[in-house]
């Protein structure tokens, strides 16, 4: 009986193992979608800064590093009252400044990112197909390292992120994080509701 069952299942499985072919049109669609996404740049400046690496340090260099740390500590104390808003770490926020649109299916949302060293900032999310080149979601530099854009976002729950200089993905540090379970990529969450 057991052998008979196994034979039946093997017969079914053998039929299902026949290769399935998909047209090459799929390749074109995938590549069109991929070309709209930010280009990877592992050896760009950002990547070099964030990639871990092993460094061998001689005692002389240790001494120089210690001196440098001491010097920065002194300089830091001298500038204790410096403006914290000029911190290098990007700071972002999103809020709803405008009236809802005529169709009432979306709200205009302002996205703000503080990134003093950035040359370009865009907002990507499930509401624009994660397209960093989408014209409506390109942030403008407002001065002092502040970038912002106000753009329509459909009502509902959404995931989004900022793309800096076409290569660095920055989740909004002031918004709740959402983990994409496919590959553990952190994004920010936003809930867009109809204004009363």
């Amino acid at each position: 009986m057991r052998d008979e069952t196994e034979q039946d299942i093997e017969r079914i499985a053998r039929e299902l193992r026949v290769p399935v072919a998909v047209g090459r049109a799929l390749d074109a669609r995938v590549m069109r979608a991929v070309r709209r996404l930010p280009r990877h740049a592992r050896f760009g400046l950002w990547s070099r800064l964030i990639t871990p690496r092993t460094v061998t340090v001689t005692p002389l260099v240790w001494g120089m590093l210690a001196a440098a740390v001491a010097m920065f500590a002194v300089l830091g104390a001298m500038h204790a009252g410096a403006d914290l808003n000029r911190a290098a770490k990007p700071i972002a926020r999103a809020f709803f400044p405008g009236p809802k649109n005529a169709a009432s299916t979306s709200q205009r949302v302002q996205f703000v990112l503080v990134a003093p060293d950035a040359k370009k900032v865009a907002v990507v999310g499930d509401f624009n197909g994660w397209d960093a080149s989408h014209a409506a979601y390109q942030a403008q530099h407002r001065g002092g390292g502040v970038w912002s854009v106000t753009a329509p976002v459909p009502l509902g729950h959404h995931r989004y992120s900022f793309v800096v200089d076409d290569s660095l993905w920055v989740a909004d540090p002031t918004a709740p994080r959402v983990i994409d379970y496919d590959y553990g990529m952190p994004n920010s969450a936003i809930v867009v509701q109809e204004q009363k």
Binding site: T5, D8, I9, E10, I12, A13, E15, L16, R17, V18, P19, V20, A21, V22, G23, L26, D27, R29, V30, M31, A33, V34, R35, L37, R39, H40, A41, R42, F43, G44, W130, D180, Y181, D182, Y183, G184, M185
Partner: protein, 184 residues
């Protein structure tokens, strides 16, 4: 610059990560048909299978820098595809779509089937789509993709004993659904 024939996945992944977007097409071509089979059997129709595949490739590109073992890009991509099939399967369930048997012919199976075996194949496809999603997933991974239970557990996040139970139930149900064909 053209890729050398037979470049390993790790080589291609490294080129994409250095900014060569077009190199990604090599990975698409390499895995497109290999994984179309799973997506098609899991979702039961061409449209959803292609959507799942496309979605999996695009997600893989987006998060390529997080692929910890580029030499095993295929396994990593397959995990993404399994998740996309789950998501699309759930959506399909909500739409209550009807499985179209003719999709088998439309998809253009790589091997020609003699007329006598086409009906048998259609019966199998119909029975497969009547399984619960989790049982269909476990059956396909075990018997069609021929994975071991440990691999299946890593891939799905489901315990080995639960997977064995799902496979057993799937086998029983398939035999039950196909009993009339066997008898004939």
């Amino acid at each position: 610059m053209l890729l050398e024939a037979g470049s390993s996945d790790a080589v291609v992944v490294a080129r994409v990560l250095r900014g060569d977007v077009e190199a990604f097409s090599e990975l698409v071509e390499r895995y497109r048909d290999r994984y179309a089979r799973y997506a098609f059997h899991m979702l039961g129709n061409r449209e959803d299978a292609e959507e799942a595949l496309q979605d999996a490739f695009v997600r893989a590109y987006r998060s390529l820098a997080r692929c910890e073992d580029p030499e095993r890009f295929g396994a990593w991509l397959f995990r993404i595809l399994v998740n996309r099939c789950r998501t699309l399967g759930a959506r399909r369930g909500r739409r209550a779509r009807t499985f179209v048997v003719d999709e088998v012919a439309l998809l253009g199976a790589a091997e020609e089937h003699p007329a006598g075996t086409t009906a048998w194949r259609e019966e199998i496809d119909r029975a497969l789509q009547q399984l619960r999603g989790d049982q269909r997933e476990a059956f396909l991974l075990k018997y069609v993709e021929e994975l071991g239970y440990d691999e299946m557990s890593q891939l799905t996040g489901v315990g080995v004993s639960a997977l064995k139970m799902r496979v057993m139930r799937a086998c029983e149900r398939l035999r039950e659904l196909l009993s009339e064909v066997y008898d004939a």
